[in-house]
């Protein structure tokens, strides 16, 4: 757990951020809006009381209305975990990329794009659909982990692209 002083400083700087603590594992959970997300990430990385130098995981899921994003950071020197959650709207799923802060975010962000179609602004491959795809074939149509995704069998199991009409 970060110190109480560090947490109160974070609350001052990001007054709209909601703080929660998961006492079972002593994780700090921060709920943040999309537009302040990148600023908060920079703060977590650079502030010596948080010192989140290790990005452990990025994932997303589909609630039907939005795509919540879930980031798990860890600090090697202070040994605490900070979880940052944010929501991107379903009709315009776009969020700032953190690859410039943690290079390890590269493939994790690509996976989120591949499965949910979330656009990461500032990712080296942003906008290049074929380069962004990672697990699915380059020319795949649609985002398979969305709850409203309906697979259409093209008739040829070896070649993925599906004809939608």
């Amino acid at each position: 757990m970060p110190t109480p002083e560090a947490i109160s400083k974070l609350q001052q700087l990001f007054s709209e951020t909601q703080l929660k603590v998961d006492w079972a594992v002593k994780d700090l959970i921060l709920d943040v809006e999309c537009d302040t997300f990148k600023k908060l990430c920079l703060f977590l990385r650079r502030n010596t009381d948080f010192d989140c130098d290790f990005l452990a995981d990025i994932t997303s899921w589909d609630t039907g209305e939005s795509f919540p994003l879930w980031y798990r950071f860890h600090s090697m020197s202070l040994n605490h975990t900070v979880i940052v959650r944010t929501n991107v709207p379903r009709d315009n799923p776009i969020i700032a990329s953190v690859t410039d802060i943690w290079p390890g975010a590269d493939w994790l962000e690509r996976e989120c794009f591949d499965m949910y179609g979330i656009d990461f602004e500032g990712h080296p491959f942003q906008g290049d659909l074929a380069q962004m795809r990672i697990l699915m074939p380059k020319d795949w149509d649609g985002f398979p982990f969305r709850k409203d995704y309906e697979p259409v069998f093209s008739g040829d199991p070896l070649h993925g692209p599906q004809e939608r009409n």
Binding site: F54, D106, L135
Partner: protein, 371 residues
């Protein structure tokens, strides 16, 4: 007049390593652009084994997800079983009896030994020392026999489940384990001497594929890879789960960050795992092995994640529940996936022969990468 090396270089020659290359340990394709013998750039292409397991979890009740996790990291299936069981237990607030926790830890460590033995064998083959392959697999066979004695299966165990473990230790298990360990302690040193005392192996691994401490942290490396770079990051120590906080073991750390360091970490981890298993036998209490679980299991709505140390690194399952029978989302943080993402950076400027040595030292399993 003989040609100079710049005149005969062939910039921009692209070579496909894989997806059927034997030393990629699975269906991994490396698009390597060569300049002579030097790697100019490398792009890993994955997804050949993508089965959409995370989506399949969403269509099944929690307990039916477990057999699928066997197919993630198939060399250490029990560690995957443990990771998903812990995530289900955390989302459903289930407590696990002490004895079950000891049995879980013991079996996972034995699976870790088996997995590391595969690494030693296959890595030695990658480098060109084929003899060790046979010795390492002979030892692994004995470990698999022990695991079969306990779980009834040799590779896909489907054994650890939310709430505990299904069966208690079989008759004569402790004796069998001890006798295998006695042999393994001797043969492990033999295998180790065969490799660390081999000049070719040393030249091909020492100083090759160096990952600096900062680099390893920034890229999110875990497990033997980050410990080979001098960072003592082991989930079993920094966030102990099950009964690891009651057990006495060391976390081997090497500072060099090269292929040799990653190999030495794994050798030392086998010794530590044997220590843990022996302690488990000594400390294990009598009692229940399974919590009473409802027949129809509906955890409360919420999110939870588990963090475990699999043989390859930090294996974490993230789970979202909405109070219904099936999970809304299960995400696997696969250590091999993260390690592969380091490759473009790691392979820039190395000789083409070292590509295999570096890739092998990361010990990736493609079942886990592609999911």
């Amino acid at each position: 007049m003989p040609l100079t090396s710049t005149e005969i270089s062939s910039p921009g020659m692209t070579i496909n390593m894989g997806p059927q290359h034997p030393s990629t340990h699975g269906v991994l394709r490396l698009l390597v652009e060569l300049d002579g013998e030097v790697v100019h750039s490398c792009r890993p292409v994955i997804g050949y084994l993508h089965r959409g397991l995370e989506k399949m979890f969403e269509a099944r009740p929690y307990r039916q997800c477990i057999p699928f996790t066997d197919r993630l990291d198939y060399l250490a299936a029990l560690n995957n079983n443990l990771a998903i069981s812990q995530a289900v237990e955390r989302v459903g607030n289930i407590a696990v009896p002490d004895r079950a926790q000891y049995i879980r830890v013991m079996l996972c460590e034995m699976n870790r030994i088996a997995s590391h033995l595969v690494f030693i064998g296959t890595y030695a083959t990658d480098i060109g020392a084929t003899t060790v392959f046979l010795y390492a697999f002979r030892d692994r066979e004995k470990m698999l026999d022990l695991l079969e004695m306990m779980t009834g299966a040799r590779l896909t165990y489907n054994w650890i489940r939310p709430g505990g473990v299904p069966t208690d230790l079989p008759e004569g298990f402790e004796k069998a384990v001890r006798s295998v360990f006695e042999e393994l302690k001797v043969t492990l040193d033999e295998n180790n001497r065969l490799l660390t005392g081999n000049r070719i192996f040393r030249v091909r691994t020492e100083g090759i594929g160096v990952i600096s401490k900062e680099h390893a942290i920034a890229w999110g490396a875990t497990g033997p890879v980050i410990r080979g770079s001098g960072v003592p990051y082991d989930i079993r120590k920094i966030a102990p789960y099950e009964v690891y906080d009651r057990l006495d073991f060391d976390v081997p750390v090497f500072d060099q960050g090269d292929c040799m360091a990653r190999y030495l970490v794994r050798i030392e981890e086998i010794r530590q795992s044997m220590r843990i298993v022996e302690q488990c036998f000594k400390d294990m209490p009598e009692g229940e092995i399974m919590t009473k679980m409802p027949k129809i299991f509906r955890p409360p709505a919420g999110q939870a994640y588990s963090r475990t140390e699999s043989p390859r690194g930090e294996l974490s399952f993230f789970m979202v529940s909405d109070g219904s029978l099936n999970p809304v989302r299960v995400h696997v943080r696969a250590p091999s996936f993260i390690h592969l993402s380091m490759l473009p950076d790691l392979l820039k400027g190395v000789k083409v022969a070292d590509v295999i040595a570096i890739l092998g030292s990361l010990d990736t399993v493609l079942g886990e990468v592609d999911r």
